[in-house]
């Protein structure tokens, strides 16, 4: 039997506000345990939540770029359940009246575009962390993350393959970063995906029983987890079994998904409107103001790179696919406005290769955009050759200093004095009469031999263009 996969994603994007969604405590990652949890986050008796307005503006930004309906009156609800890292015994979220209503975005897979519906997006607070491996018998609680603002983005069940799901997730990931509403850092948990997956025989209209995969923190794992789950469901159904509605956990180490809790074990969250918070009223003026100040989005940036910088469609696409990459590239252009193509090549070539090799996010690159830009300048102004540039790049990556410092300390400045180069050429010609004869008899390829000898003699510093010209002149 042929099967069709149905996937819907729930994405939790942590909003990059300075303080938490309902308290004044900070949100910075990696601080000492419980150092960013105030009385409100600890849920001491008597404390009350106060909405951080910045979260509302960030949610509206997102709503506007997915063509969504912004609910000008939206309501916070309490989702009640007990867990030690949920201090109040309820999470403040939005159920019936989310801030962002129905919207949509377009994805492209294998050159085919497809529209994915977004059911809703709502504001909520994150829980703290339970740490089970710190003490032998006890569980430790770190409430630094408790109350961190999240935008939960729920898609329609519109995706039909893991590839589509990844394309959608990446698109949302790029968008939230462009909008500067989330840092999108997946390792730190700022961007998490849950996937709802079911399969059905092709041609059948009714959805199959779905399972939910929780807490996946990389695109690679998301794709793997979805494919594993599709296969698992297919195996069950083809053996005549039935898929059980449940929440499953992806284990990257064992490369499997396993049951976390079934539908029967699911909590009754007893949602009701939080009486401590008034319904949020959003004015049309605020929406208009946010709309006016929306930043440039990937599509617009791509078009501009092509039209104004003369980049190819391919290059512009890659450079705008990640906000970090585009930002880096544009920072380079500031000090190097006439070398867009060369800058692009370096970002997509050496830099991306190195980042990939060492698994480093562009935000944490050891070579700043300013420094790489300087290196590109030294190539374009003839100080060094492109080849030497690659060596200097490696030295810069290793932390040996700026391009100029490395050129100076290693004496890598290009030799562009024709007199000096001519003297070297004369010496080589004198020593290799046989090869000179070959050239003269029409073997053009032998020119490379002379170039190689000259580069060897100058430790690669001879200006390649000048060297070529002088060699030809002397040999003919």
């Amino acid at each position: 039997m042929k099967w069709e996969t149905i996937i819907g994603l729930e994405i939790h994007a942590q909003l990059n506000t300075k303080s938490k969604i309902f308290s004044a405590a900070g949100t910075e990652f990696g601080q000492a345990q419980n150092s960013q949890a105030c009385a409100v986050d600890l849920a001491l008796p008597g404390v009350l939540p106060v909405l951080n307005e910045a979260t509302v503006e960030k949610a509206i930004k997102f709503g506007l770029v997915i063509d969504a309906h912004i609910n000008q009156r939206n309501v916070f609800d309490r989702k009640n359940y007990f867990y030690p890292d949920l201090p109040k015994g309820y999470q403040i979220s939005q159920l019936d009246f989310p801030i962002i209503g129905r919207g949509k975005i377009e994805i492209t897979v294998a050159n085919t575009s497809k529209t994915i519906g977004i059911t809703r997006a709502h504001l909520e607070e994150d829980a703290g962390k339970s740490i089970h491996d710190l003490y032998d018998d006890d569980t430790a609680i770190d409430l630094n993350r408790a109350g961190t603002p999240l935008l939960e983005i729920v898609s329609d069940p519109d995706m039909r393959s893991a590839k589509e799901a990844i394309a959608y997730a990446k698109k949302i990931h790029t968008l939230v970063q462009y909008l500067d509403i989330s840092d999108g850092n997946m390792q730190q948990g700022s961007f998490r995906c849950d996937a709802n997956i079911s399969i059905r025989p092709i041609g059948q209209e009714k959805f199959g029983v779905r399972t939910e995969l929780k807490n996946i923190n990389s695109f690679k794992f998301l794709e793997r987890a979805i494919n594993l789950e599709i296969q698992r469901q297919q195996d069950i159904l083809e053996d005549g079994g039935a898929v059980v509605q449940e929440t499953r956990l992806f284990d990257a180490l064992k490369n499997e998904t396993r049951s976390m809790r079934s539908k029967e074990e699911a909590n009754d969250y007893r949602y009701f409107p939080d009486p401590d918070l008034l319904p949020v009223e959003i004015s049309a003026e605020l929406i208009a103001k946010i709309k006016q100040n929306l930043p440039e989005l990937p599509q617009q940036k791509k078009a501009r790179f092509i039209a104004e910088l003369g980049l190819s469609d391919y290059d512009a696409n890659i450079l705008t696919s990640q906000k970090g990459l585009a930002d880096y590239f544009e920072t380079m252009l500031k000090s190097n406005p006439d070398n867009a193509k060369l800058c692009a090549n370096w970002v997509m070539g050496e830099l991306s290769a190195a980042l990939n090799k060492y698994q480093i996010e562009i935000q944490n690159t050891p070579i700043s955009a300013q420094n790489l830009s300087l290196l590109v300048c030294r190539i374009s102004d003839g100080t060094i050759s492109g080849k030497i540039g690659k060596d200097i790049f490696q030295a810069m990556w290793a932390g040996e200093g700026s391009a100029d410092e490395i050129i100076a300390t290693k004496g890598l400045k290009q030799m562009s004095d024709s007199g000096q180069i001519e003297a070297i050429i004369d010496k080589i010609i004198a020593e290799h009469t046989q090869q000179v004869a070959q050239f003269k008899s029409g073997n053009e390829k032998i020119l490379g031999f002379f170039v190689g000898q000259a580069m060897k003699a100058t430790a690669g510093k001879a200006n390649p263009k000048l060297l070529n010209e002088l060699l030809r002149a002397k040999l003919s």
């Binding site: 849920a43 106060v50 918070l277």
Partner: protein, 486 residues
């Protein structure tokens, strides 16, 4: 006249005139508290009180500060006070020393008042008698065998028995007005949102409101001036400007129209109480006020509506008492489930557990619409009734409690207990300001008169109550008690 029978205005004048120092006044009250057998206090904060008293004496010597500088008061043990046990009368919080001040506590500290201690109450403010306290029952100073009312029973007794100049209270379904009524003092529940709820341990968030419990309407106005106002820490507090509540106390109330809701004068009302209410209405007529019968048809649903909404909210509000971060934790929990189950089973009292269970049930999947949502609809209808009524009258008047104070331990059935809240719940459900003022005695026990005003009409309520108190002397009567000898 002895110090503890004086009003705030009189005490303030005495302090300024040097008739007595704040330290003397504070010691006098502390002495009375320690000699009292009414169990009005959970904690008595002698050291803190004397420290604050000395600071107040310094202020007074320099001629600084307002009318409330150095006035000793009793604080309901539901308001968080830094460094002081804040228990809400629950075993659950018996070990909770608050690391922060409620906004009300903060404001009273800023105004240089003297906190004598924290008063007894029903556990987490759930009750009408102060009998559900983990710290034992509080006795009515007019008759030790009687309940003081609740949940702010300790506060009402502290004022009635001359153990403090005034007290703070909170009112979710009558918890200021009913004990004020049964103890013969003045109590004001302001409009919802008038006083910040920050740091006030939540019972039912959409109903809870703090207010003053005092000897007179004038004192209530003086205290409300300090308690009221917008607080950015409480999203439900109102930005409405705070007037000087003492300014128009003496205005004439001639020409005002008072409404008597016929539903408040049903057969359930004790005849002794009814006669005092009717007599009070005559007093008002003598002041040039006209009286009109009105109807609040949906107020008859106030009890079931309240006893759905309040338990729903409390079932969630009390979830944070889980034995994890603060408060009571059971001995040797064997796992997480056991920690939750035993900490909460052992830490909460019967009535609290009953309301948590009712609320949890009413919010459950499949029941939400039939209970919570339905109750919210009726709540709107109750508010609409008042809207209609205030189109015709200026103030609504009726009894506070169907009876005077009853015997301690005499009501054991929770539903019978809930029924006693019949006249006070509507004002909370609608969010309206409401007062209880002394209206006489029935068989030597105080009878309270309830005044309900339109939103933000505290000024008019206080003015009306003050004019009544200028005309009557019920509020000046004090119980004959042993503390008087102290």
């Amino acid at each position: 006249m002895v110090m503890h029978t004086k009003t705030i205005a009189e005490l303030s004048a005495g302090l300024r005139a040097g008739d007595f120092s704040c330290v003397e006044l504070t010691k006098h009250y502390l002495n009375r508290i320690h000699n009292s057998d009414l169990n009005a206090f959970i904690s008595v904060t002698d050291d803190l009180a004397l420290r604050q008293a000395r600071a107040a004496d310094d202020k007074i010597a320099k001629g600084e500060g307002g009318i409330l500088v150095g006035i000793p008061y009793a604080h309901k043990d539901i308001f968080c006070s830094t460094g002081v046990k804040t228990s809400a009368a629950s075993k659950m919080l018996d070990n909770f020393i608050s690391p922060y001040d409620a906004t009300v506590s903060h404001k009273l500290n800023q105004a240089n008042l003297v906190m004598l201690g924290k008063t007894n109450m029903d556990e987490f403010a759930m009750g009408s008698t102060t009998e559900s306290s983990y710290y034992g029952k509080t006795h009515n100073p007019w008759d030790r065998k009687k309940i003081p009312g609740g949940s702010s029973g300790g506060s009402a007794v502290a004022v009635a028995a001359g153990l403090s100049a005034f007290a703070t209270g909170t009112d979710t379904g009558g918890s200021i007005r009913q004990p004020a009524s049964l103890c013969g003092i003045t109590g004001l529940k302001p409009t919802y949102g008038r006083v910040s709820r920050y740091g006030m341990i939540a019972y039912a968030s959409s109903l809870d409101q703090a207010g003053p419990m005092t000897k007179t309407a004038q004192d209530a106005a003086i205290v409300l001036n300090v308690m009221a106002g917008f607080d950015k820490k409480d999203s439900t507090s109102a930005t409405q400007a705070v007037p000087d509540y003492t300014k128009n106390l003496n205005n004439s109330i001639q020409g005002l129209t008072i409404g008597l809701p016929k539903e408040f004068f049903s057969t359930d009302l004790d005849s002794g109480v009814a006669s005092k209410i009717m007599a009070a209405i005559k007093e008002f007529e003598a002041l040039g006020v006209s009286v009109k019968e009105i109807s609040l048809p949906n107020s008859t649903y106030a009890i079931p509506t309240y006893y759905i909404i309040a338990p729903c909210e409390c079932s969630s509000n009390l979830s944070r008492m889980d034995g994890v971060r603060f408060g009571y934790r059971c001995d040797n929990p064997k796992d997480l489930q056991d920690l939750y189950l035993r900490s909460r089973t052992e830490g909460f009292g019967e009535e609290v557990k009953r309301r948590i269970m009712i609320g949890t049930f009413a919010l459950s999947a499949g029941y939400y619409d039939a209970y919570y949502l339905k109750a919210q609809k009726i709540r709107h209808s109750i508010s609409d009734d008042f809207k209609t009524a205030f189109g015709k009258v200026d103030i609504i008047i009726g009894p506070v409690s169907p009876t005077t104070a009853w015997d301690l331990g005499s009501i054991k059935d929770p539903v019978t207990m809930y029924l006693s809240d019949i006249y006070t719940l509507s004002a909370n459900l609608a969010g309206l300001p409401s007062m209880s003022i002394p209206a006489g005695f029935s068989q030597n026990l105080p009878v309270g008169l309830q005044l309900i005003g339109n939103y933000w009409s505290e000024e008019r309520l206080l003015n009306t109550a003050h004019k009544f108190q200028m005309q009557t002397d019920f509020h000046q009567k004090t119980p004959q008690r042993s503390e008087a000898m102290a």
